[in-house]
């Protein structure tokens, strides 16, 4: 059986403005294609049926990882392999390295992009949890200019984001704050698979106290699960194993997994709690420069 997408028209964008103009003209029939490793499989299965594809792979201005205005700014077209190999990210947010090593495989990582991963908004996708835990904001550009949206407002439902018709995600912004530590823990059935469950954690430690924390889960709900109750618990407390166990219990309780080929609900809830605890433990060790 030949798996080929349904017919569509294709254009290669030569500028972000050009891509936005084409999106505006074509309305909801048009889609942006970057790495294509989420969209093309969806199109082969007829789960996505765009009539017009705008290829942004030539837009080098969307491919960068740089420090600017107290943030790390990542262009939407930055590929997984570049996130994995970035020294800037490794230094400030090693959670990216943890996640990227277990996202698909090295060949897929040569094509897939951070913008594509976030816009696909698959609840099992790892970078959405990473960005949620880091309290990232994303820049969405449209015909009338830019707006900056927090991760909680970006993912509005399964496979649905705040990016509207005629708009394009251009950048991911990570706040740089002192005392940061971060980690991602994932359990999958085999190398390169989607997570059974995964947890991303970040802590910002100031004078022996957790000044702020971020915790998010993949694959255990209809969207990325942001465990705000655990963050409130952690904030203002001294890091301890008991605290991480308690935060993990919130993670288990606050997710909403469904049973499938990857496991039953009880198992996934248990996993979410254990992985949250481990991610917090490792994030804290990194913040305190005590990682084994």
């Amino acid at each position: 059986m030949v798996q080929t997408p349904a017919p569509f028209e294709y254009e290669r964008a030569t500028s972000v403005e050009g891509a936005i103009a084409a999106l505006k003209q074509r309305g909801s029939d048009a889609r942006i294609i970057a790495g294509g490793h989420s969209l093309l499989p969806m199109m082969k299965l007829r789960l996505a049926n765009p009539e017009y594809l705008i290829d942004i792979n030539d837009l080098d201005e969307l491919s960068y990882i740089r420090e600017e205005a107290g943030e790390i700014r990542i262009g939407a077209l930055t590929r997984h392999v570049e996130l994995l190999e970035s020294e800037l990210l490794a230094r400030h947010y090693p959670v990216f390295g943890d996640a990227e090593r277990v996202i698909a495989d090295p060949v897929v990582r040569n094509r897939g992009t951070i913008g594509g991963s976030l816009c696909q908004a698959d609840a099992a996708e790892d970078l959405s949890a990473v960005c949620s835990a880091l309290k990232a904001r994303v820049v969405i550009r449209g015909p009338d200019g830019e707006r900056v949206v927090a991760m909680d407002d970006f993912h509005v439902g399964p496979y649905t984001t705040a990016v509207g018709d005629g708009e394009i995600l251009t950048e991911v912004r990570l706040p740089l704050r002192s005392g940061a530590g971060s980690a991602h823990e994932k359990v999958e059935r085999r190398a390169g698979d989607w997570a059974i469950a995964a947890a991303s954690a970040a802590v910002w430690i100031d004078g022996g106290t957790i000044a702020d924390a971020g915790l998010a889960l993949s694959a255990v709900g209809p969207t990325t699960i942001h465990v705000t109750r655990a963050e409130e618990l952690l904030r203002g407390s001294a890091p301890s194993e008991e605290l991480f166990v308690e935060a993990g219990e919130f993670a288990s309780a606050d997710c909403s997994p469904v049973p499938d080929g990857r496991g039953p609900v009880d198992y996934k809830r248990h996993l979410a709690g254990v992985l949250a605890k481990r991610a917090l433990r490792r994030a804290t060790a990194r913040a305190l420069h005590q990682e084994a």
Partner: protein
């Protein structure tokens, strides 16, 4: 749409639908059926070719997206009757049984050695983790790539 894609250094021009996948564009070119079309879901890695030197899965790239880029397929490895060291390694160490995964494995191996001429066993296993082989259990493939690395190191010294 008329498309110009450079494959193994030669310009291939053909009129295709935008929905044509790169793997089919390559395989529909006379003499270039070495690239295999496998799972079609970017899982198996049989369709791996090099795009500007980096391994990519050609079942999940539109042919139109390859215009303006350099594509290398398994046919480019042998030159003037001389096998590439990765091909020699697969031959010497019996790194294939049915051969279906081989073109993807060879191109992935070639890209690895171009970037890292002295990979550890672990680095080799990570590099080929995007390819599925149902015959060998990977052991001989890993050994063959290691053989190719050592062979290339020796050859370089001789030159």
């Amino acid at each position: 749409m008329e498309l110009n894609v450079t494959i193994n250094g030669e310009r291939v021009t053909r009129d295709v639908a935008p929905r044509q996948l790169l793997v089919h564009y390559i395989r529909d070119t006379p003499g270039l059926t070495g690239t295999h079309w496998g799972c079609d879901t970017s899982n198996c890695g049989a369709c791996v070719v090099l795009m500007d030197g980096k391994p990519v899965k050609s079942c999940t790239i539109l042919a139109a997206m390859a215009e303006g880029h350099e594509i290398r397929t398994v046919e480019s490895l042998e030159r003037d009757g001389q096998l590439d060291p990765v091909q020699m390694g697969f031959h010497e160490l019996h790194a294939l049984h049915c051969g279906f995964c081989t073109p993807g494995m060879l191109m992935t191996a070639r890209a690895l050695l171009d970037e890292n001429p002295d990979p550890s066993e672990e680095e080799i296993r990570v590099a080929i983790s995007g390819g599925i082989c149902r015959c060998t259990g990977y052991k001989n493939i890993v050994d063959a790539i290691r053989w190719a690395a050592e062979h290339e190191a020796t050859t370089r010294q001789e030159v």
